[in-house]
Each structure stands twice: as C-alpha cells, then as structure tokens.
Symmetry: C2
Subunit: 491 residues, 2 copies
C-alpha cells in the first residue's frame, strides 16, 4: 500500500534525519503498539528528527509525496502513553510515525518571568525536576510522568492530579512552536502573559491530538514552590456530602486546595483485597465515600497542619464528615496517594473491566452517579461499579467490573457496548463529557460523532479542512473522514 511513493523516499528521509533515525524493519512495536497492548499497527517508517527544522523537512517531504498521489500520512508520537490509541499507526503500512523523543532540550528557564521554554520531547518528570532545581514548580503531574513527554501532554491537553488548582496542560502553556501540515513552522514561542494580537492559535493546537499541527516546542508557566504540602483522608456518608466538603474546602483553603480525590467504598475494598500491605487510614467499611484532600501552604509546615485541622473542625460541625485523619509527615501523605493510585492496579488484578473517563459539573456528581447506577442496576444488576476520580474537577473514572464469579473477559466482550451507552447517555443527560482528560484518539471518534453538538462538529471539520486540507496529520484521530462518511450514510 505504498502506491506512488517516490523511489527515493526512504533515502531522502535518511538524508534529512540521519540513517540511524529512520526505522522501517525489525521490531517496531515500541512505536506501533500502545502501552496497554490494545492495538498494534504497521508503520511505513518510524522517523525520529532531532530538531524543529528536521521535523519540518520530514513533514514537507511527506506532504510532497502525498501531493504526488502517494497514500501516506503522519502520526506524531511523544511518549506513546495515551489511553485512546492516538499515537500509533493503523494497519495499512502507509503511516509514518514521527517520534519527537529525540528532542529533549530545555531551551531556557526564566525565573523572573516564571517560565521555561522546552523541546516537545522533554519527559514530564525531567521538566518537574528542572523547575525544582530553579526553586520553582511545574505543577503538571500524572501517573505516566516518568515516560510521557510535554509535546504529547499539550497535544492531548493532559489533566492529572493538580488540575483543581493549576488547570489542565492548556492552562500551563504560554507559547508554542508548531510544524504545520505543509511543513511551515509557526513560531509562537513566547513568555508573554498577555498578547491580544489576533486569534488564539495556541489553544487551537493544544488538545487537537496532532491533527492540526505537530508541537515541537513550548513555553510553560512556572509557579513558586509551596512551603509545605499536607494531606488528609476523610470519610463522608455520601457523594452529596463529599460535594459539600469540596465547597467547604474551597472556601476555607482557597487556592491552597491542590488535590481533591474521591473514592467510593467498593474501590477501596478492591485495593484492600489485592494490596493488603497498603494500610487504610480509615476502614473502608465505615463510610460510603472517602476523600483524599491535598493542601499546599505558602508559609510553613505548621500552618499547613493547622489549616487542615481547622477545615476538619468546620466540616465535622457542618455534618459532612464522619471521620478524618491528617497525615503527620510527607511519608504519610505519600501513603495516602499510594492508595489512591493503586485503584487502577487493583482493578486490573480483579480482571479486565470497563473504563469511563467522564466529567459533569461538580454539583451534578451525586445525581449523575445515582442515576447511572440505577440504570445499570436495572439491566445489569450484578455488575460492580468502581467509582473514583478527581472530584474537584468534576472528573470521575466511573468504571465497571464484572459480577463476582463471572468471567471478566466474557463480560467485557459482551457488555462493553451496552454498558458504555448507558453511562455516556447519562453523562449526556447531565451535559457532561464522555472524555474528560483522555481525549478522542482513534478509539472514540464514534462517541464524538454521537455525543458532540453537531454545530461544534461542523466547526471542527471546517478547521481541519482549513489547516490540513489533505488530511496528512493523524487522519484517523478525533474526526476521521471515514467516520464522517459513515455518519453521512447513516443520516
């Protein structure tokens, strides 16, 4: 399927980026397969440029080949840690995987401007550490931080655990360098906090999952390091009470509230079952919903503790808490986060299951969960809901596990579609999103077509057509022409 590809194509690629950085043979699964092993494609080539101008040259070469009739497209790839198959090639053998991983330079840190400019291939954790070395904080924080790269974080507008205070990846970016579909470079790098000279191209590229341009560099916001962080583990009678606790925490702690994670009893019981070595601060049987609250103080450790304790007093008084434990050390705080972060692992040990990364407004969370559970109960009475997530952002991982004793694989195979429909329909009923932080990729275009406002879809199509008229960039992701055509036929 490399029809019309110029004979010299691979040679030209090797001239552009160096012989060692074009792979067409051998085991390419590192680039062709997603890390969960859900899918594996077949790349035309894996190309790893070392600079923005090399990225531009590769894109230009591919665009020219396409213009001459070649079946070719480009899948930009960062750390390949996404959850929606947005950075691997399809099986056609016509897609060039363009890996940004060789571009790892921190171009500069400007402490007085609280910003740093970096290559797209920088690993997130390296950026956190570079900021820390300068006495500052880069707050983006997520499970894959040891292997994901900032270009991918921006292309997918990553979320994570600090969104309630610092926002998504989008909010942490004040400048972008992008290679466009025709190989031109848009230099939108800037440390400016204010610039009202024209359309917001930066935010248009951020979150477009490599379909409108390839991010090669970024200027990022930095923050002062907080003087202290403290965590509390809190037991509440219901999600309704947890939402009241959120409001109370926001009022008392204001911008000091840097984490607010909720976990239902069943999620913690699964952790207890599979990781008995992780000691729970409070027995999961004693309450319906637990909250892991993180507070950051700009003054001192002592104040962090006393602020947290005074919140707890107010919360007990307001009747939204039944029990609470304040971590007395960073180590204890870390153990609380460990429990939260082991829920997905406990779910995996329990067996394959259905994941849903949804959001509604924080205020709608209790009603959403009640309704979604009731509807599930009706059609699948024994399915087990494992519900937890970033309550402070209205973002839940509303997952569903097979009934006890049932075969998880058979359950998932048979019921993925109907259960997903129940949950996403309920999300839609509350005006929510079927993908809060994971994106669309090549896994959820059908959901996009089904649930997204048709006017928004039409605007998106116009923009894709305007910026990438030949569908060179990640054509199967977000809004593939094929899915569109199918929808057209169905309509």
């Amino acid at each position: 399927m490399t029809s019309f590809l110029p004979a010299s194509f691979f040679e030209q690629l090797r001239t552009l980026v160096g012989h060692d950085h074009v792979h067409t043979e051998g085991d390419l699964s590192l680039w062709e397969q997603d890390w969960r092993g859900l899918a594996q494609g077949k790349a035309l080539a894996v190309v790893s440029p070392a600079s923005t101008s090399e990225v531009a040259a590769v894109v230009k070469l591919c665009a020219e080949a396409k213009a001459q009739g070649a079946a070719i497209s480009i899948v930009p790839q960062g750390g390949n840690t996404g959850l929606v198959l947005g950075s691997i090639p399809d099986g056609s053998g016509t897609q060039v995987v363009l890996s940004l991983r060789r571009m790892q330079t921190i171009r500069g840190i400007d402490p007085h401007n609280l910003s740093m400019t970096v290559d797209a291939g920088c690993i997130l954790q390296n950026l956190q550490e570079a900021a820390k070395s300068a006495g500052l904080l880069f707050p983006l924080s997520l499970a894959a931080q040891g292997s994901c790269v900032i270009g991918g974080n921006l292309a997918t507008n990553a979320g994570g655990t600090q969104v309630v205070r610092y926002g998504n990846a989008r909010e942490l970016c004040i400048g972008l360098e992008v290679v466009l579909a025709d190989g031109r470079i848009w230099n939108g790098l800037s440390g400016l906090r204010k610039d009202n000279t024209g359309y917001d191209l930066r935010n248009l590229i951020i979150g477009s999952e490599g379909t409108l341009g390839i991010i090669t560099g970024a200027t990022l916001k930095l923050y002062p390091q907080p003087a202290a962080r403290a965590c509390a583990w809190l037991a509440t009678p219901s999600l309704h009470h947890a939402v009241e606790l959120l409001a109370l925490s926001q009022k008392h702690l204001a911008s000091g509230l840097t984490g607010f994670e909720a976990m239902e009893q069943a999620a913690l019981q699964l952790v207890e079952k599979h990781m008995p070595q992780l000691r729970m601060p409070i027995a999961p049987t004693t309450a319906e919903v637990f909250v892991l609250l993180e507070y950051s103080d700009d003054e001192s450790e002592t104040r962090a503790q006393s602020r947290l304790e005074s919140l707890l007093e107010a919360a007990f008084e307001a009747g939204v808490l039944t029990d609470g434990a304040v971590a007395q050390s960073l180590d204890q705080s870390q153990r609380m986060w460990d429990i939260r972060e082991h829920i997905p692992l406990a779910q995996a040990q329990e067996g394959v299951h259905l994941k849903h990364d949804i959001s509604v407004t924080s205020s709608s969370i209790p009603a959403f969960v009640e309704r979604a559970k009731a509807q599930l109960q009706e059609s699948h009475p024994d399915a087990r809901v494992i519900n937890f997530g970033h309550l402070g952002d209205g973002n839940l991982h509303f997952n569903v596990q097979a009934p006890l004793g049932a075969d998880p694989k058979a359950f998932v195979k048979e019921l993925a579609q109907p259960i997903q429909a129940i949950i996403y329909d309920t999300v839609a009923f509350f005006g929510g999103s079927f993908s809060a932080e994971h994106g669309v990729g090549t896994l959820k275009p059908a959901e996009l077509l089904h649930y997204k406002d048709p006017v928004a879809l039409s605007l998106m199509r116009s923009i894709k057509q305007a910026l990438d008229p030949h569908s060179l960039l990640n054509p199967n992701a977000v809004l593939p022409p094929a899915a569109d055509a199918q929808a057209g036929e169905a309509a």
Copy 2:
C-alpha cells in the same frame, strides 16, 4: 450604498426583534461613535435583539441579503467601551450594528461548581455583584466595569488589574454560546472544568473580536471571596529592582499576590501636578519607580497585614526597596488604587498624548524600557515618557507626552507614527506584543500585518475564511481583506 438590499429588509428586521429595537434614523452616535470620540461611522441600522434566537435570526437575514448581493455586514457591539474602534461601524452605511445590550439575564449561579451562566449583555459590575451576593468572587476587574459587558470582555479577551492572579477574561470562561456567521447557534455552554472531546472552539472565539462569531452567552468561573485584601505602596530605585521585588513577592505571597502595578516617577509627578488633592503615600521625588502591590489573604485581616510586613522586611533586606507604606485600612488601600487609576486622567489633563499598550516578558522590562527610552531620546530628546502598568503581567502603558511647552496636538499629529514605530520596533526586538490587552480592532490592523509572524497571519486568514467565508462579521477588524490586499500589493 445599500445596493441589492431587499426592499423588505428593514421590515423583516423589525418583525424579528420588535419595532422599537431597530434604529435607522436620528442620533445614533451612542452606537456609531467610540467613547473617546476618535471616530464616528454610519450604521445601516442599529439592531438590538433580546435573545440568542433573535441574534441568530438577524444574522441569518443579513447573511441571506449578502448572498443575494447586498453590500452588508455586521458589527457586534457590547458596551462599546473598547480602545481600538472594534465595535463601531465604518462610514459606508452598509454595516448593521448588532447590540447585545438588551441581553442582561444571569441565567444561573452554581455555587458548588463555582460557576455562573450569563447573557453576553450583562454589565461586568453586575456580574461582580451577583457573585458577591452568592458569597463568591468574579475576579475580572477593569476601569470600564460599570458599562462594559461580558460578551465584549470575552470577545476582546479583556485584562485588567487582577490578571497576575486570575488571568485574562479567557481564563475565566468555561463555556460559550455563539451565533455563527451563517446564523447557526453553537451551544458550548458548560460548567465543565475538563472536556477533551475535540478542538478548543471556545478559546478560538474568545479574543477574535467578533470576527468569527457573536458571543451571546457564557459560563464563567467563580472563586471563593478572599478573607482580606491589603495594599502596600513601595519605592524602588529602578525597574530592575521592581522586577526583583516582583519575584520576591511571588515567592513570599504566591497566589495571594493579586495586584502588582508599577509607576515611574514622571507618571506620579503628573498626578501630583493635576490632582494635588490625592496625597502620595511616599513623595515621588524620592525614588525612580513605585509599586502598588495588592495581597489577598484567605484567612484574616491580621494575617494579611503581617504577611505584607514580612515581605517588606525581606525586600528591604534584599536591597530592592528604599521605602514602603502598608495601607492600614480598606480606605487607605482604595486611595492607593485611586492614585494608580488617575494616571490616565492626569495624562489627559496634561494634553493629548501617545498611548502604547505593550507587553514583554517581566524579565525583559528593564532592558526594554532602557532601550526604548534611549532610542526616543536620540530622535525626540524632549518627549516625556509616562510609563506605568501591570508589571506583574509584563504589560506596560508606555505612553509619550509632548515636550513641556510644546503644543500637544501638533506633537501628536506630527510624531505619532515615528514614535510608535520606535516603540513597537523595540517591543518586537524583545519578542513582545504591540497590543497586550486592548486588541486590534479597526485601529491596529496595519500593526498586525507589520509585526505579526507571517505564518500566524496565514493561519488566521485560513480560519477566518473557514468560519466566515463571506466576511459578514466585523470585516474591518483584526485582519480586513483590504489591508491584506494592500500588503499583497506592497509585497
């Protein structure tokens, strides 16, 4: 110049929005003239719809007339308080002014989600007060807040005095309702903090100055009200020291730093001269640069005072301060803000002058000011620089007043162009912006063409073409086809 306009056009307009809400005769200067009186156009009609569906119907009618060959376009208008002539018609008599001012409903406040959904025509100050009544804060704050409306604030991505903590209007919006160029309504209202399902249409519309769509409603972020606010008036030896003070303040006060305004000596001396009743906390002769610092505390008045005082101690120790006064009451704080806000008025009393709303990185500010002043000094040795602004955001109002004794009008008329070129060229040298918060409107398209990255301009053109192919919406603003054509001829 109403060629090809259907005979029934005005009758149809009146049917759509009501007889009283279409004006074609009499004194329309309220809508046709900007508030500074720089320019007055001639409207084909002033139309004031009462609802989103009425806006859509008006746009559809105009789009149809245009499709049938009529010379017609639409200028959306909010409070008409902008500074770049972005919301008034040209002199052709072919532009419909579509005023949003009748749409003033606060559709709902969701305290648990910290959000409110409002009509585009709501006056900013009313929204601040509505939030306050709910015990919350809507932080957008600017001089025109008594008459500007939120739709205009979003269409121009307004800045103001709280940006250092809360960001521009863009950062305060989590949902948008927009009427598109063909009259379709995009309902992007949402209280969601996280939604990664497709391109960021919201931010594309925000800041597009009515050229890509007409904002009819918005969902806005709210914040907890701070427990206390306190201000300090600080004397520093130079802008370099002021930038050091900014870094120190960010480190010590973190997110409590809600305002950081810098004023050079000459700006304050002008206030002293014209408003002697405003008592200066520190005599302007004693230092080169003064800073008005605002701190917001989430705990108490007492803590606000003590935090400010401990910052001052650290700043004295670091040698970045020569003098400082902490306001002992809200009244004293207000008086400090009064001085800052009287600078533009003192400038006006001194005579017409040249305004420049520029930004560079905070770290570049001293070097930028030094270089710009040196270049001005060379060619216009007696021109007086009146420099002040939002140093915390890298945003300066780097204004120039006629020499003492010279005729201000003649000075402005003769030297506006060359002085502006010196300043904007210097801004460009430092990678800054010629319009930090005021936008482009119909006043600065030439600067946009001259200073903006050509690739960015080309992307902007593609997007305008995709979303408004017939140039129905605010065609003279931002990137008018005429300016483009001229640039093309020049190239």
